[in-house]
């Protein structure tokens, strides 16, 4: 290993720590500090504001639905991509990653074009059957699903590759059915990957802003999520409430990070 000379080492350390401190640590710290600038008042005020409460409930509902859908879809697609061969597999596996690099605004626009009730491709037909998608929770769930789509798959696929299918074949040779093999062999070995994926998806889903802003219509008290409330409150000069709501979102996302950091086993060298 190259061991850098001591002055260089300190310089690099200073650059790394300094950059992260000024860009991330200090600003986040300031928001936390401002949340508690009046003791707990900001938080309790925010938590007694019906607009905030409603938004938090809606956010949680949308995020949970999105995570459940992505969990089923993600684990299923991962198994299909790793354990089976079929035409178009490579294209599919490349397309799966697409949502990570599509702008949330483009996601919102794309869903709007297809599902709006006025001139969308599918929207009017759905609405005539009583299913409103845009400006309602189904659209918000879809937008959230879209942006968080690859997160579980990206965690599970490498693990499935790594464990190989020896154990599954052994189980089958011992007489286990496909279902038994999945629940008793495959799932336990990808368990932690699924957990990281879910935690990351949850953090992403609770925090989605741009795509949800477009498809929800941002109707106060009806389709306004926590992130939209932060924007609205800040722009309405209710900054204390904006800070307090942000603080709650920061706590959730940092908790997610800590959970993943602790759960993820150290890479073996």
């Amino acid at each position: 290993m190259v061991d850098v000379s001591t002055p260089t080492k300190w310089l690099l350390r200073l650059v790394a720590v300094g950059y992260v401190f000024f860009l991330v640590a200090w600003p986040v710290g300031l928001v936390v500090q401002q949340t508690f600038s009046n003791g707990l008042t900001n938080l309790t005020d925010a938590l007694s504001d019906e607009q905030v409460i409603g938004a938090l409930q809606l956010t949680l509902m949308v995020a949970l639905w999105a995570v459940v859908i992505n969990l089923v879809f993600g684990v299923g697609i991962s198994l299909l991509l790793v354990r089976f061969e079929f035409p178009g597999k490579r294209v599919l596996s490349a397309l799966i990653d697409l949502p990570l690099s599509v702008s949330p605004v483009v996601v919102g626009l794309a869903l709007l074009l297809v599902y709006n009730g006025r001139d969308g491709w599918i929207g009017p037909a759905a609405e005539s059957r009583g299913l409103q998608i845009i400006f309602d929770s189904p659209g918000m769930i879809m937008a959230t699903c879209f942006v968080a789509l690859p997160l579980i798959i990206r965690e599970v696929v490498p693990v499935l590759h790594e464990i190989g299918d020896d154990q599954e074949q052994a189980a089958r040779s011992l007489g286990a059915s496909t279902r038994q093999t999945f629940w008793r062999i495959t799932l336990p070995s990808i368990k932690w990957a699924v957990v990281y994926g879910v935690v990351l998806s949850l953090a992403r889903s609770l925090g989605e802003f741009g795509a949800v802003k477009i498809v929800s219509g941002n109707i106060t008290g009806q389709t306004q999520t926590a992130t939209l409330v932060v924007e609205a409150k800040y722009q309405n000069f209710q900054q204390e409430t904006a800070y307090a709501t942000s603080f709650l979102l920061i706590v959730v996302s940092i908790a997610a990070l800590v959970v993943v950091a602790f759960l993820r086993p150290k890479r073996a060298h």
Binding site: V17, V24, P27, P87, L98, V114, F209, E231, L249, A261
Partner: protein
């Protein structure tokens, strides 16, 4: 001797496929090994994936195509849109360059250095990934906005755009370079040293070339994210036309004005950039895999 046996079998593993690699024949018709249950599952998954991703993205391209080439041209010819495009692209490039340097340094420090608080630094790097973008904007306002304890008033200036993009793209290069740096074998550097290479030469001729694909991959992701960023800019940049307005905001303005065709035209350009990035990443990864 057991260690000899382990050594031999470990070497036999990688050696044999590598020997074959140059002559490997690509299958032209992939096998189909789907069982009935798996086929059904794939069908359901594909319907959902189409409804969620493929059809909506196609709709963007279709809507953009309604105006034909002249539609694209008109959108880009609009001064305000063009200003947004140049601002976004130039800021994304600046931020990506900063990330290439700083991200590599942070990855180096995380892997090769050891000091009190390193673990904390490692966790903080991921904060921009986990934080909702609107909160990211708010967070940056607290240090760089009107009430800045540093006396900086960067809100609503182009600096604010740089800042927001740097914040949300911080983890990309760090997280792509870090694992590659961890996997670099110490003996390769020792071999170079025993051949007379100085530290600087080892970094330049051995370490950096090994990290280059990871840096390129991280840079591509960072660039793609930067040009598509929206949420963190809302509160911070003020979206002032010709000064701090980025492409995403332009798209949103078009949507709010009911001008879906222009929105789609601009959005489809962003989509194309995203696609280029994905293809580039795939190419880089294949190259690296061949290097072994």
């Amino acid at each position: 001797m057991t260690s000899a046996l382990i050594g031999a079998s470990a070497a036999a593993g990688p050696a044999s496929p590598e020997g074959r690699r140059p002559r490997r024949v690509r299958r032209t018709t992939p096998h189909n090994t789907l069982t009935r249950g798996a086929g059904l599952g794939l069908g359901v998954a594909m319907i959902w994936f189409s409804l969620l991703v493929l059809i909506p993205l196609t709709a963007v391209i279709a809507a953009a195509g309604q105006g034909g080439w002249s539609g694209y041209f008109d959108v880009l010819r609009n001064d305000q849109t063009w200003a947004a495009v140049t601002l976004t692209v130039s800021q994304a490039l600046v931020v990506t360059l900063v990330n290439i340097v700083i991200g590599s340094i942070i990855a180096w420090v995380l892997v090769r250095d050891d000091f009190w608080g390193k673990r904390l630094l490692d966790v903080i790097i991921d904060v921009p990934f986990a934080l909702p973008t609107i909160v990211a904007g708010l967070v940056l306002l607290s240090l760089y906005g009107p009430n800045s304890p540093l006396g900086l008033h960067w809100a609503f200036t182009p600096n604010a755009v740089t800042l927001a993009l740097a914040f949300v793209t911080l983890p990309f290069i760090v997280r792509t370079v870090q694992p590659v740096l961890e996997e670099l074998e110490a003996d390769v550097e020792e071999a170079a040293a025993s051949l007379g290479a100085s530290r600087a030469t080892i970094v330049r001729r051995i370490i950096l070339p090994s990290l280059a694909p990871a840096i390129a991959a991280g840079a591509a992701l960072s660039f793609a994210r930067a040009i598509s960023e929206y949420g963190s800019l809302v509160l911070l940049s003020g979206n002032r036309p010709f000064q701090t307005e980025v492409v995403s905001v332009r798209v949103l303005t078009f949507i709010e004005n009911g001008n879906n065709q222009s929105a789609a035209a601009l959005a489809s350009i962003m989509l194309a950039v995203a696609l280029v990035v994905i293809v580039a990443l795939d190419v880089v990864q294949r190259r690296v895999a061949r290097r072994g």
